[in-house]
C-alpha cells in the first residue's frame, strides 16, 4: 500500500475539507470545527508513511515501528496544521490514531484510564500458578530478554564471561536468524564482544514480550520452559514520552509472561526493575525492602509500568516463585569502552551540560556505570544464595558539589540552575540542534519532565543488600557518576557529535606566550607562539597543548608564516630517540601553516633530554626544521630564562569565567603538572646512568648468593 507523498496539510484538507481555526488566544487546545474522524484518518495516512508496519485506527504507533522522534515530528506537523499547541502527554498516553484524535478533540479525558489498566495488569499476577522452590544449582541454561538493548547486551556478556551457561536470547524479529543479527548489531554498537566463542554459547529466539506467551507457539514455549533453569528479564520499552497503555505490553505483560514460563520449572526469575518505581516527588526513603511510591503520584507512563511489573512480581513471590528484583537508577556509560545509550535522558543531560555548561540542581544522583550494573546483575543471577532478594543497583550517591568539582577540573565549570530555568534555557538553545532533537522531545513532554524532575528530587537510594552482594563477590563498590570514570563516555559522545568537550576553539583553561629566537641556516628566525589547553583533561590524557603563532625568517619567501598545531610534552612517552646515547624526547612542536605565496610549510621543533649539566638549556633550546614540498631548512631556537618568567609565569592566563579562587587553584595545578612532566623528562637519562652504575655490582656473581641462601635455609 503506497501513498503519494503528501503533507499533513493536504491530508487534513482531503479528510474533511475544512481548514482549522486559528489558535484560540486563551491557549485552549480545543479545536473548533475539527472532526476527530478526520484527524484520525489523516494521522493514519501520515503515520503510514513513516512506520515500518501498516497502521490502522487502533494500532499503537510505536508498535508499528515509529520512533519517539518521528512521533513528535508527526505531532509537530499536526500542531502546525491545527495552529494550536497540543499536550504531548495526552497525545502519547494512548498512541493509537483513534485515541489521539479523541485526545485532540477533547483533551484531558484519557489520563484517568491509566490506573484502571494498572489494576487490570496486576490482576494477571493472581492467575499465576502456585509452585514449589526451584533447584539451587548454578544455572546451565538461561533465558535472557532485552539482549538487543544497552543494558541487556552488557548483561549477556557478563553472564557468558562469569559462567559456563548457555544463554537463550529472546528478541523481536521475523525469525531466529534475524533475532541473532539484531543481537550482533547491538553487541557491535555497544562495544561488547561478538565472536565465534560468543556465538557458540548464544541461541537467539524470535519472540515478542508484549504478545501472549511471548509470541511463541506451544511447542517452542514448552521446549523453552523445559530447557532453561533461570530467566533473566531485562527487556523493556524505555521511553519517557509514551503512556502506560503503550508501554504496558512489553514492560508489564512481558515480565508476567516470563513469570508464567518460570513457573513451569519452576526456575528463578530475575527481573531488572527500576528505581523509577520510587520516582515520586517528596518520597522520604527508597529502601530495598521498603514500600514503593504511590502509583497515582508517578508522573510518567514509564515509571508506572516499572512500578506495575515490580508489584506484580512481588505478588508472584506469594505464589512460590523465586523472584529477584534488581533496580538500577540512572545508568552511566561503560567505564572501559565509553559505550553509552545515546538516546537516554541522562546522556542527553550530559550532552547539554558539555555544550552549554549548565546543570539542573539535584539532591543526589542515583546512578551507576553500566558495566557495574551488568556485573552485579550477573552475580545475582549466578549465585543461588542471592536469589529472591531486592537489590538497588546504584553506586555511591553523587552530590552536586562532587559533580561541579570534577567538571571544573575537566575545564567545564558548570552553572547550577533550578529545573524550570534550566529547562527553558536549554529548550531555547537546542532549537535546531539535530543531535539533541530527542532531548527537546523529552523536555517538551510533561511526562518525561515529571520523571526527570522527580528523579532530581529523590533522596539517596538504600543499597545495603546490593553492597553485601558486591562484597560477597569481590566487586569493587561503584562510583556513582564521576567525571574521571566517565571520561571515555564523554570522549565517545564527543566523537559522535552528541557532546562537545572543550577544544581548540573554546576559551582556554590555561594559556601563555612563548617567543623562541635563533637561526635557521644562519638566517635569523623568530617563532612567536601562544600555547593553551582547553582543560586539565587534555593535559592529563594527551600531554598536549594547542599552539598558534607566527614564524618569521627571511628564508620564507611569503613573509611571516601563520602556524597552528600541537606541543606534546614527553612525546612518545619518553621512548628514546637514541637509546645508547641516553637521548630522550622532552618536547615536540608540530606546526603547520601556509605562507603568502600559497606554499604549505611544516615546522617541527624538538627539545631533547640528555645526560649533561646543561639541564636549563635543554628546556629552553629546540632544534627546528622548516619544510615545504621544495625546500627544507634547519636550525636552533631558544628563549631566555627571564622571558619565560615574564611570559610563562607572570603572563599565565587562566579562563576568566572562573572565580578568583578557582583561577588560583588552576594556576597551582598547572605549575605542578607542567613542572612534574618536564622534571620527569629531564630525570630519565640521569636515572638510567645511575642504574648502569648499579649494574657494575656484577649481575653474574653468585658466590655470595649461595652462601646467603644456605644461611636462609
Amino acid at each position: 500500500m503506497t501513498e503519494p507523498e503528501m503533507t499533513v496539510d493536504e491530508l487534513l484538507a482531503l479528510a474533511d475539507g475544512t481548514r482549522p481555526e486559528p489558535a484560540d488566544p486563551s491557549g485552549s487546545p480545543r479545536v473548533v470545527g475539527m472532526d476527530p474522524a478526520g484527524i484520525e484518518a489523516a494521522l493514519i495516512r501520515a503515520a503510514g508513511r513513516m512506520a515500518a508496519r501498516p497502521v490502522g485506527s487502533d494500532t499503537d504507533l510505536f508498535d508499528a515501528g515509529l520512533t519517539s522522534a518521528q512521533a513528535v515530528e508527526l505531532v509537530a506537523e499536526l500542531e502546525h496544521e491545527l495552529g494550536s499547541e497540543l499536550d504531548l502527554g495526552a497525545v502519547f498516553a494512548d498512541p493509537r490514531p483513534s485515541a489521539i484524535a479523541r485526545a485532540v478533540g477533547s483533551p484531558g479525558e484519557s489520563a484517568g484510564d491509566e490506573l484502571a489498566l494498572v489494576r487490570a495488569d496486576l490482576r494477571r499476577a493472581d492467575e499465576l500458578p502456585f509452585v514449589g522452590p526451584p533447584r539451587t544449582d548454578e544455572p546451565r541454561c538461561l533465558l535472557l530478554t532485552g539482549a538487543t538493548g544497552f543494558v541487556g547486551v552488557h548483561v549477556l556478556a557478563e553472564l557468558l564471561r562469569r559462567s559456563d551457561a548457555h544463554v537463550v536470547c529472546l528478541a523481536r524479529a521475523a525469525d531466529d536468524a534475524a533475532a541473532l543479527a539484531r543481537i550482533a548489531t547491538a553487541a557491535k554498537e555497544y562495544g561488547v564482544p561478538w565472536n565465534t566463542e560468543v556465538r557458540r554459547r548464544v541461541t537467539a529466539v524470535a519472540g515478542d514480550l508484549a504478545a501472549p506467551r511471548l509470541g511463541l507457539d506451544d511447542v517452542r514455549w514448552q521446549a523453552l520452559a523445559a530447557e532453561v533453569d533461570g530467566v533473566v528479564s531485562v527487556g523493556a520499552e524505555v521511553d519517557f514520552v509514551r503512556g502506560y497503555r503503550s508501554l504496558g505490553g512489553a514492560n508489564v505483560a512481558g515480565p508476567l509472561s516470563l513469570a508464567e514460563l518460570a513457573s513451569v520449572g519452576p526456575v528463578p526469575l530475575h527481573h531488572v526493575s527500576s528505581l523509577g518505581a520510587f520516582n515520586q516527588i517528596g518520597i522520604e526513603a527508597m529502601d530495598e525492602d521498603g514500600p514503593l511510591a504511590r502509583v497515582d503520584r508517578l508522573g510518567s507512563g514509564y515509571d508506572r509500568s516499572k512500578w506495575a511489573s515490580d508489584v506484580a512480581l512481588q505478588r508472584a513471590r506469594d505464589h512460590g516463585l523465586v523472584v529477584t528484583l534488581l533496580r538500577p537508577g540512572g545508568i552511566g556509560g561503560n567505564r572501559s569502552t565509553g559505550a553509552h545509550n545515546a538516546h537516554d535522558l541522562s546522556s542527553a543531560i550530559t550532552a547539554a551540560l558539555t555544550r552549554y555548561r549548565t546543570i539542573p540542581a539535584f539532591r543526589c544522583l542515583n546512578t551507576a556505570p553500566v558495566d557495574w550494573v551488568a556485573r552485579l546483575t550477573a552475580a545475582a543471577v549466578l549465585d543461588p544464595g542471592s536469589w529472591g532478594g531486592n537489590y538497588h543497583l546504584v553506586g555511591e550517591p553523587v552530590t552536586l558539589d562532587d559533580l561541579v568539582r570534577g567538571l571544573t577540573l575537566a575545564g567545564m565549570a558548570p552553572t547550577v540552575q533550578p529545573w524550570d530555568e534550566w529547562r527553558s534555557g536549554i529548550l531555547e538553545r537546542i532549537d535546531g540542534v539535530a543531535e539533541l532533537a530527542f532531548l527537546a522531545t523529552m523536555l517538551r513532554s510533561p511526562s518525561a519532565c515529571a520523571l526527570a524532575q522527580a528523579s532530581l528530587s529523590v533522596p539517596a537510594a538504600g543499597t545495603a543488600r546490593a553492597r553485601e552482594l558486591a562484597v560477597r563477590h569481590g566487586i569493587e563498590p561503584a562510583p556513582g557518576f564521576d567525571v574521571s570514570a566517565q571520561l571515555r563516555t564523554l570522549t565517545a559522545m564527543d566523537r559522535t557529535g552528541l557532546a562537545r568537550l572543550p577544544g581548540r576553539d573554546s576559551t582556554p583553561h590555561v594559556a601563555f606566550d612563548e617567543t623562541l629566537t635563533g637561526a635557521v641556516d644562519s638566517r635569523p628566525c623568530t617563532i612567536a607562539l601562544t600555547l593553551s589547553a582547553a582543560g586539565m583533561h587534555q593535559l592529563l590524557t594527551e600531554r598536549r597543548l594547542d599552539v598558534r603563532g607566527t614564524v618569521e625568517c627571511d628564508l620564507l619567501p611569503g613573509g611571516a608564516l601563520t602556524v597552528s598545531g600541537d606541543l606534546v610534552i614527553r612525546p612518545d612517552g619518553g621512548v628514546p630517540v637514541d637509546a645508547a646515547e641516553l637521548r630522550h624526547p622532552l618536547m615536540e612542536y608540530r606546526l603547520a601553516g601556509t605562507d603568502g605565496t600559497g606554499t604549505d610549510w611544516t615546522v617541527v621543533a624538538h627539545k631533547t633530554a640528555r645526560l649533561g649539566r646543561d639541564i636549563a638549556s635543554q628546556t629552553r633550546t629546540a632544534t627546528v626544521e622548516l619544510t615545504s614540498a621544495a625546500e627544507a631548512y634547519s636550525g636552533t631556537v631558544s628563549f631566555a630564562p627571564r622571558d619565560y618568567l615574564r611570559d610563562g609565569v607572570d603572563g599565565l592566563r587562566i579562563d576568566p569565567a572562573l572565580s578568583a579562587r578557582e583561577r588560583r587553584q588552576a594556576k597551582a595545578v598547572w605549575f605542578a603538572w607542567f613542572g612534574g612532566q618536564v622534571g620527569r623528562g629531564l630525570l630519565q637519562p640521569a636515572l638510567r646512568a645511575f642504574a648502569e652504575l648499579w649494574d657494575l655490582r656484577g649481575a653474574r656473581d653468585d658466590g655470595g648468593s649461595r652462601q646467603w641462601q644456605r644461611g636462609l635455609r
Binding site: A157, R162, P193, E197, T337, D572, V575, P576, A699, S705
Partner: protein, 347 residues
C-alpha cells in the same frame, strides 16, 4: 569439546639448555600454526587451564595447529631456581629462534604465528628486531612488546628492590613451601605489601608481581579453581633477570643487556630503533585495567605509527581486563581469544 592434551617434545636451546616444546593433540595438520610463549615465572600451562575455556582449546577447535614453548623462564623447568643464570638476551637469542626453527621443521611451509605474553613478548620483540625469526605470518604481543613502561612506584621497587634482593636468591611463590616460621617468611611478607585484599598469601605475592607492585591480574576475573591453583601455575622468580628488566624499563625500549658477548651481537641496542626489521603484521593486545605494564602497548602502537609507519601494527584494548587474567581469566575466551582468532583470520 575435550580437554587439551599435549604431545611432549624435546627441544634444546642454541646454547645447549634443555627446554620443553609441547604440541596440542587434535589440531589441524593442514591449517596455520601457532606458537605460544608464556610470561616469566609461569609456564605453557597458562594456555591450558582445565577449569576454563583456554587458548590452546580455542585454537585447536578453530583448526589451528598449536605448539607451546616452555622457555627457560618457565616454572615447569628448574632454571628459575637453580640456574644457570640468564638474562632475556638468552631467551631472545637462543630459546625463541630454536623453537621457531623446530616448529617450522615439523610443519613445513605452513604460516606460523607467534602469540606471546608479557616477558615472552618482550623477548620476542628482541628476536624479531634482531632478524632472528624472519618470515612469521603474524605476531600477537600481549601486555608489552618493544616499549616496556611501568608505574613510577614499580620502577622504584624494581630499581631498589633488585639491589636489596640481589643476593637473596629466587623469590618464592608458593607460601606452603615457605611456611609460616621460616627465615624467608619475613621476605615473603614484605613482598606482598600493597597487594590486594585477598588473604591467600600465594595469590598476594603473584598479584603483587613478586613485590614489583601494581597488579598482575584482576582478582575478580579469575575462576575460583584457577585462584586455588595459582601456586601450580606460577613458580619462583629469579632475581638475576631484574637488572635486565630494570634497564629496559628505564630506557622504555627493549635493550640488549650484554654488550660484550659476541653471541648477542645480533640483538639490537634498542628494539624501537630497529623496529623496521619486523617483517610481519603485529597485533598488540592489552587489558584496559593493566596495572603492571599499564599502557605500554598503546604507547608501542603510537611510537611505531610515528617511527616505523610502514609496519602493519594494530592495537586492541580489552575492556575490563588486567594482565595475566587476559589468558587465565574465566571469560578470556569471550573477551580476548576472539581478537586473536580474528587476527589469525585476517592476516
Amino acid at each position: 569439546m575435550s580437554a587439551v592434551e599435549f604431545e611432549e617434545l624435546e627441544l634444546t636451546a642454541d646454547d645447549g639448555v634443555r627446554l620443553a616444546l609441547r604440541h596440542v593433540i587434535g589440531g589441524s595438520a593442514e591449517g596455520p600454526v601457532a606458537l605460544l610463549l608464556h610470561g616469566h615465572g609461569v609456564s605453557s600451562d597458562m594456555f591450558a587451564t582445565e577449569e576454563t575455556r583456554n587458548l590452546a582449546e580455542v585454537l585447536r577447535d578453530n583448526g589451528i595447529d598449536t605448539y607451546a614453548l616452555d622457555w627457560r623462564g618457565s616454572c615447569r623447568l628448574p632454571y628459575n631456581e637453580r640456574g644457570p643464570r640468564f638474562t632475556y638476551d638468552h631467551v631472545a637469542a637462543f630459546d625463541i629462534p630454536a623453537a621457531v626453527r623446530t616448529v617450522r621443521e615439523r610443519t613445513g611451509g605452513r604460516p606460523l604465528y607467534v602469540i606471546a605474553h608479557c616477558i615472552g613478548a618482550l623477548a620476542l620483540g628482541a628476536s624479531l628486531t634482531a632478524g632472528l625469526v624472519p618470515g612469521l605470518a603474524g605476531v600477537v604481543a600481549h601486555g608489552v612488546f618493544l616499549t616496556p613502561r611501568m608505574s613510577a612506584t614499580a620502577r622504584m621497587r624494581l630499581g631498589v628492590g633488585a639491589e636489596l634482593l640481589r643476593r637473596a636468591g629466587p623469590i618464592p611463590t608458593d607460601f606452603r613451601a615457605v611456611g609460616l616460621f621460616s627465615r624467608r617468611t619475613p621476605l615473603f611478607a614484605a613482598l606482598t605489601v600493597g597487594a590486594g585484599r585477598c588473604p591467600d598469601p600465594t595469590c598476594r605475592i603473584v598479584h603483587n608481581a613478586w613485590g614489583a607492585g601494581g597488579e598482575l591480574f584482576l582478582h575478580d576475573n579469575l575462576h575460583p579453581a584457577t585462584h586455588r591453583r595459582l601456586a601450580d601455575l606460577a613458580g619462583p622468580i629469579p632475581t638475576w633477570t631484574l637488572p635486565h628488566l630494570r634497564r629496559a624499563e628505564l630506557a622504555h625500549t627493549m635493550v640488549r643487556f650484554d654488550d660484550r658477548d659476541a653471541r648477542f651481537a645480533a640483538l639490537p641496542a634498542s628494539a624501537v630503533e630497529s623496529a623496521d626489521r619486523i617483517d610481519c603484521p603485529v597485533m598488540l593486545l592489552a587489558g584496559s585495567e593493566n596495572r603492571f605494564w599499564y599502557d605500554s602497548n598503546a604507547l608501542c602502537a603510537d611510537v611505531l605509527a610515528h617511527r616505523a609507519s610502514s609496519l602493519d601494527v594494530r592495537y586492541r584494548e580489552i575492556p575490563g581486563y588486567g594482565h595475566l587474567d587476559a589468558f587465565l581469566g574465566r571469560g578470556a575466551a569471550i573477551d580476548v581469544f576472539g581478537h586473536i582468532l580474528e587476527f589469525l583470520e585476517e592476516t
